[in-house]
Assembly symmetry: C2
Homo-oligomer: 219 residues x 2
């Protein structure tokens, strides 16, 4: 049994809370737990086979991410998004990602950045032959990479806190509409703009991308 591989040494055992968080986030953003649905702690804890205390910790986080809304007496339900809310979410998303794009343009050495973004583009290209879900995942991964590459942890965290709302927006609009915003060419334009090092151009490209995306979602 000698010679354990490095990945095994780095194994991370996920807590029940984290597992519940993931499962619930997926169930909500996929529509399985439908908008407006009242989440009853006792039911959910039985379904997930965890205690109510553990579940509550996960639910609190989802509430903070904007996926759940608290009704009277602390009752949590899956949030419903109307058109205005989707537009609002995309406006904030645009603000964060345009900051990311500008920040990347201002980096002294952009080579590793563009390499990583090209990899993310390749992944998007590969996903065009996959399922709608795969295309959405690769798209969101591209945008997350954009934020991550800035090295601004606060920016990445803010974006990730918005990710659930973004996913719900796509779900509300329907996956086909969502995917219509995920063309590889338009993302190549973003990378191209960043490549030029022109922060104003990069910002403008992102803002336009997000304007179009929001308009498509609410059409």
């Amino acid at each position: 049994m000698a010679g354990l591989t490095a990945p095994l040494l780095g194994l991370e055992k996920k807590s029940l809370r984290e597992q519940a968080l993931s499962a619930l986030r997926t169930a909500i953003t996929s529509g399985e737990l439908e908008p407006g649905r009242h989440l009853v702690e006792t039911e959910l804890s039985e379904m997930l086979q965890i205690s109510r205390g553990t579940l509550r910790e996960a639910l609190r986080q989802l509430e903070q991410e904007g996926l759940l809304s608290a009704g009277p007496r602390g009752r949590l339900s899956v949030r419903h998004l109307d058109e205005k809310e989707i537009r609002d979410i995309y406006a904030v998303r645009a603000a964060l990602e345009s900051l990311a794009a500008r920040s990347l343009c201002e980096l002294p050495d952009r080579q590793h950045v563009t390499e990583s973004l090209h990899k993310a583009i390749d992944a998007m290209t590969a996903a065009t032959t996959g399922t709608l879900e795969e295309r959405i995942e690769s798209d969101l991964e591209f945008h997350r990479t954009l934020c991550r590459l800035t090295g601004n942890e606060t920016l990445l965290h803010s974006w990730e806190s918005l990710e659930g709302s973004i996913r719900m927006s796509i779900m509300f609009a329907g996956l086909e509409k969502g995917v219509s915003n995920m063309s590889v060419d338009r993302h190549k334009d973003i990378v191209g703009a960043i490549d030029t090092g022109d922060a104003t151009l990069a910002r403008k490209t992102i803002l336009e991308h997000m304007d179009t995306a929001a308009a498509n979602l609410v059409a």
Copy 2:
């Protein structure tokens, strides 16, 4: 006992979790719970006279707000901010608030907006004769109002999720440095720019305000 006033009818009893959240947020952002301090659940729950379960829910939220960082084995400690992190926080803050400013310029009817902002300015003016804490509160209230007036709930929520980090940045720099960014005149400039309805000017004013603020904090 007839004739209860409307405010009494609207009384909201805060849960222990919410009370703990407030108390902890204040203790952290004021420096009472100092950066790097390991928060031991059993100690804190005894101090606050609440159960560990209730405390955990509050701590989770503070972690998500960026005020605490999780170390090995789930141990939470008060986050320490270095200069880069402060700059990063202010960059994200600038992105959010400049979106707010641009959004306000695009509103069809800006009269009630400018009235509210002028009120916030008046409160800042009144606070100049008060304590440093009062000045910081009135400043943050001005900026929160900026975001709230847009009617974009996602934007307000994102800003509020950042507020703790903002407060900690000010605390790290020292209150005097923080207050140096809170001159009434500079905030009047922001309102003035929004008054013109020129979204580009308003955005630029905010970005400059935040650039200067960050530079002052890390100087």
